[in-house]
Amino acid sequence: MTMPDIHTPAATAPSRDSSTETPLLELRDVSRRFGSRPDLAARISIALGAAKPPPVVHALDGVDLTIRRGEVLGLVGESGCGKSTLGRIAAGILPPSEGQVLWKGEDRKTLRGKRRLQADLEAQMIFQNPMAALNPRMTIETLVSEAPQIHGMINGDRAAYVDDYLVKAGFDPAMKRRLPHQFSGGQRARVNIARALAVQPEFLVCDESVAALDVSIQAQILNLFMDLREDLDLTYLFVSHDLGVVEHISDRVAIMYLGRVVEEAPVAEVFARPNHPYTQQLLAEVPRIRPGKRHFNAMKGELPSPLDPPKGCHFHPRCPFVHERCRVEAPVRREIAPGHSSACHLNDVSAAA
């Protein structure tokens, strides 16, 4: 497969010749399954047909994804579609069951020692619930300084180092001796951001980082993310179920459905010309502020269980255009326009016609 050409006017990423540069992060055919590993006795009884194999959650199923330096990739999907698992694998805190994760062109699995540590520090994650992510018994100062201190990143004044990052995250350093519970949700979100920034990462995975915040605070944090991107030259993977937020912040958008990326395109392209039937229905439901009563029409059904995903195209039980082929054969994601790829059998039909 060739690299998609992104020289479309819609690609608003900082002007670099991204098509030749090694991507910051590349996932190749990454799968992730969760389940218990049966012991010997269990394996024998399964082989003899005396027991059922243990349930396995297919969280990710053959995902290919490329994140270029300096861009913001939005990752959208319903709960349970595997977007958080993908975020964790991208951040390097969860290994894939199968497939390769290339960090700056090198397979993460083969990295050892200092280079491994370097790669781990360069990718950081900002979690959804800031209260759960912060140790309630550590002061803000300790929380932010712990990691850089262990990794020997502070040369000189520790307090000045912490203050610097707190200020970057818009947090008043005068309050750094307090504990997390003394702050509001928005302030805690800022501490989380400061902590992630303190180890000088290049790449941030934001997993629903603004979902728990009030609208006005959410706007402040989104603005902060955009400022930091410019100031520190950061790359983001922005995982969210909120289409409005993703539309606002992303350069490119990847849509996930039950463990697979079904569509990927520059943000303007995907909102203007959604190709996959799932994307079309999902985007039809973006709540927008438009005065005037309307009737809400909904996509039928719910996300099937990842314990037993449907055969063929995962979306076929809910798809209005389902035909025989969808039930047996999983569609491959193909480029349908420059920089725009989609995994749907209908594209073959229209191409042949």
Binding site: M226, V245, H248, V267, R288, P291, R294, F296, A298
Partner: protein
């Protein structure tokens, strides 16, 4: 015609350090039959406590301190506990944010539904079961007969919320107070629930107070909107009036902080600062410390400018439409 619900200067207080804190502060609004009111605000604005006050569910030491809640001409605030209980679930029902908290985890769905029916009506067990089954079918639960015997944990989040809505609609109430009923759900499930809810309440002519922080949902669902800040309704009016030409700087700031297709790649307009805690609300206009238009006069408490149906509480209201 008198409105179904007429709330006048409602004040609900909770004891604070040495003084009563007003979680709901002189809230007034009217709701006609079959009308949908969106009650919008951020956390701590008092929107849920307003809902609880109307339901009579404010737990001690909190209490409705003053004001009237005229429901069908009768002041709920003056009724005894027993009369209020007989109204709850029958004429006024509530749907909560977290359906797992609404439903009893150790009782079958059918039991919880028939219990609600028996509480207000004399009917046989078989009749109650048939009613419960029909109600489940109405909210789009497949094979309702079998699902009556299921426990709440056997349902997905969206299905649980459907059950909660089915229970709320069992007695065909005149008024439903929906407190962030779709906040915990995915966009697709949210759209499903709203569409079912909308269909049913329209058919039954139910009035709805939809409490939410989500302006986008309210804009397509409600007839009228009331925006709350610091326990007060700072602006109220029809959806079109308030969303196209918001008068209060807070309403304007809130609308402009919502990310959308128009804000792509730009900075969002943000409201500076955070909502102060109830104990630290500034005197006068509660929003003045975050407001770009505030002047000296704002340290006095702004009254209601306008009439009962459309008003704002601002000394320096915006006149122009939102760009």
């Amino acid at each position: 015609m008198t409105p179904l619900l007429d709330v006048r200067d409602l004040v609900t207080t909770f004891p604070g350090r040495g003084r009563a804190l007003r979680a709901v502060d002189e809230v007034s609004f009217q709701l006609g039959r079959g009308e949908v009111l969106g009650l919008v605000g951020e956390s701590g604005s008092g929107k849920s406590v307003t809902g609880f006050s109307i339901m009579g569910l404010v737990d001690a030491p909190g209490r409705v301190a003053s004001g009237q809640i005229l429901f069908d001409g009768e002041d709920l605030a003056q009724l005894d506990a027993e009369t209020r209980r007989s109204l709850r679930g029958r004429r006024i029902a509530m749907v909560f944010q977290d359906p797992m908290m609404t439903l009893n985890p150790v009782l079958r769905i059918g039991t919880q539904m028939t219990e609600t029916l028996h509480a207000h009506e004399k009917l046989s067990a078989a009749e109650a079961r048939a009613r419960a089954r029909d109600a489940l079918g109405l909210v789009g639960i497949p094979s309702p007969q079998e699902r009556l015997d299921a426990y709440p944990h056997e349902f997905s989040g969206g299905m649980r919320q459907r059950v909660a809505i089915a229970i709320a609609l069992l007695h065909r109430p005149d008024l439903i107070i929906a407190d962030e009923p779709t906040t915990a759900l995915d966009v697709t499930i949210q759209a499903q629930i709203i569409s079912e809810f909308q269909k049913l309440t329209e058919e039954q002519g139910t009035s709805v107070i939809w409490i939410t922080h989500d302006l986008a949902i309210v804009s397509g669902l409600a007839d009228r909107i009331a925006v709350m800040y610091g326990g007060r309704i700072v602006e109220a009016g029809t959806i079109t009036e308030v969303l196209t030409a918001p008068r209060h700087p807070y309403t304007r700031g809130l609308i402009r902080s919502v990310p959308s297709e128009n804000t792509r790649g730009t900075r969002l307009a943000q409201i500076p600062g955070v909502t102060p805690g109830l104990g630290r609300m500034p005197e006068g206009c509660a929003f003045r410390t975050r407001c770009p238009r505030a002047t000296e006069v704002c340290s006095e408490r702004p009254g209601r400018f306008g009439d009962a149906m459309a008003y704002h509480r601002c000394f320096h209201p915006h006149e122009e439409a939102l760009a």
